[in-house]
Symmetry: C2
Subunit: 312 residues, 2 copies
DNA sequence: AATATTTATTGCGTAAAACGCAACACAATG
DNA sequence: CATTGTGTTGCGTTTTACGCAATAAATATT
């Protein structure tokens, strides 16, 4: 019996897939297959049922998995606890985030973090579908809006702020809308995803409820990046989260509009969350990254600092 | 990090010796040395101080050892728990016993046990000095008399019965002593170990206390086997535990004497104990052997059945 | 119903790791 | 001071793990 085989088994059990476990450990699937086969021989019975496109745990496998998961965790913590107080974080940090947020905010953040701690390596997985962080083996997951996995430790990172914006060229040609009502006279570039066309909502400071505006324009798309490019070319107005267009706002490539109102793309407010599996919260690399992250967004996230920069 | 290295580390920590761990795992000392070095590199600091003729744990090593010991135990138990109800005991059973008892009683018992369970392998270590079963890595330890290790689970196996015996030839030439007092007219072969010459003690059924007899004969030795051989040759009388001479009594090569009295070689009574480390009590191989052992000695140990055999 | 695709298994050759032998270093023991 | 026991390290050999490629099996797609 081999510790490596146990780790492979844990990952196979968590994901239901030899392929996923192979990817996780950067190994060939055949290597995973042999590790599992060897483990089953050493414990004397099958731990997994093999199906066509997945594997599932046998009854014994399930019981063994629960034990092995805890044992591996405990071993890692015992090893971690040996680190001297000044030990530098090291190892592979696995991060998951929505695509656009990851590209624009996590990549530079992570870059600075890794400059500071050169022993850290990272695996950044970006996707917009809801993934299971435990199953995927992520150390840290960024999530927008609703949470649904109670085995994760969720911490609120920052509020999601939306802003309407247009290029200076567009505004020079078409004027600057001063109220949400004025938007109907403008070319609004609308996001149209699986849930249909987004409405824009506005709420003034003291109003009890945001008002919905069903707007239109020359372009609708399910690709935010395309809408952004069109806006930069002066085609129309967009409403996006500040973390998406903070750089363009800072550079003046886009101009924030209707700042007296708070904009949303659906009713209610949402927050940015960061999630970690409960057990891994104390790994040094995870703690270090979380500390760094929360230092970075305090008191104001970098993607919300463009307002301050424009004022100075 | 490797499971094998962790097991090696546990054994080194328990014994304080690379050499002992190497022997335990049937490996070269250099292999143990490298395993430990590799483990220290992977946890990032030394776990052992190297001295000239032993190693000791560092502070971190001690803390790690306590964790690793429990983790390995838990893993073994999780693996053990997977066994199906009808699984046959297998693996290496490590037994320690006093030399003579081991040779005469454990070897045949173990032989029958292994015939019944062919997947069992055994390592039988015999010595008369007091050893530390945890440190030595024994699964089962036989012990006579006093117990002093509270981390072991001790079960009483059987009372120690002593008997005076002589060969038929000796008795034909010198007559049969009918009382302890008559022994002074006989050639008593006395055990003389590190504690000096043994006195023989006798207690009649209803007497409150055993009486001591300081006897003499033509031979005194620290080697019980030699005294026994001399007795078989008709040289004199011996007093030995029944488990030592049960076979000779059964065959009539020696004749039990003074059976109305209970003989001892020191004041008070002693028991035979069998000890197992607390954690290993539930390993299938250990349980199976213990069950077999206690079945064998119930209601009467085989070394005390010669009385019944002579009567039938 | 046929075809394409995905996942896991296994033969085989290669690479990497573990091993043991032997020489050596060091300090305790007699 | 010589001997002895324990641990370290260089080096060659043995063993294990790996990846590639072919294959099997069943699901998804057309």
């Amino acid at each position: 019996m081999d510790l490596n085989a146990l780790r492979v088994f844990e990952r196979v059990a968590a994901t239901g897939s030899f392929t996923a476990a192979a990817q996780h450990f950067h190994r060939a699937v055949s290597s995973v297959s042999r590790q599992i086969r060897g483990l089953e021989e050493s414990v004397g019975q099958p731990l997994l049922y093999r199906h066509t496109r997945a594997v599932t745990l046998t009854e014994a496998g399930w019981r063994y998995y629960e034990e092995v998961r805890d044992i591996l965790e405990r071993l890692d913590m015992a090893t971690e606890a040996l680190n001297q107080p000044h030990a530098e974080p090291s190892g592979v940090l696995r991060i998951n985030a929505p695509v656009a947020f990851g590209q624009r905010q996590i990549v530079p953040l992570l870059h600075r973090f890794q400059c500071r701690f050169p022993s850290i390596k990272a695996e950044l997985q970006l996707n917009d579908r809801v993934v299971d962080p435990v199953r995927e083996g992520h150390d840290i997951t960024f999530r927008v809006g609703n949470l649904s996995d109670s085995s994760l430790v969720a911490r609120q990172l920052a509020p999601m702020n939306y802003v309407v914006a247009a290029s200076p060229g567009y505004l020079a040609r078409h004027g600057t809308p001063e109220t949400p009502e004025a938007l109907s006279e403008h070319d609004c570039l609308i996001y149209q995803g699986e849930l249909g066309r987004q409405r824009w909502y506005f709420q003034r400071g003291d109003a009890a409820k945001e008002a919905a505006y069903e707007l239109d324009g020359s372009l609708a798309s399910n690709d935010a990046e395309s809408l952004l490019r069109a806006a930069l070319l002066g085609q129309g107005l967009v409403m996006f989260p500040t973390w998406l267009i903070a750089e363009e706002l800072s550079k003046g490539a886009l101009v924030a509009l209707l700042e007296t109102w708070r904009g949303e793309v659906m009713p209610g407010r949402r927050e940015l969350y960061v999630l970690t599996p409960e057990r891994r919260l104390r790994a040094l690399k995870v703690r270090a990254f979380m500390d760094y992250l929360f230092e970075t967004v305090s008191p104001t996230p970098p993607w919300d600092r463009w307002q301050e920069e424009l004022q100075s």
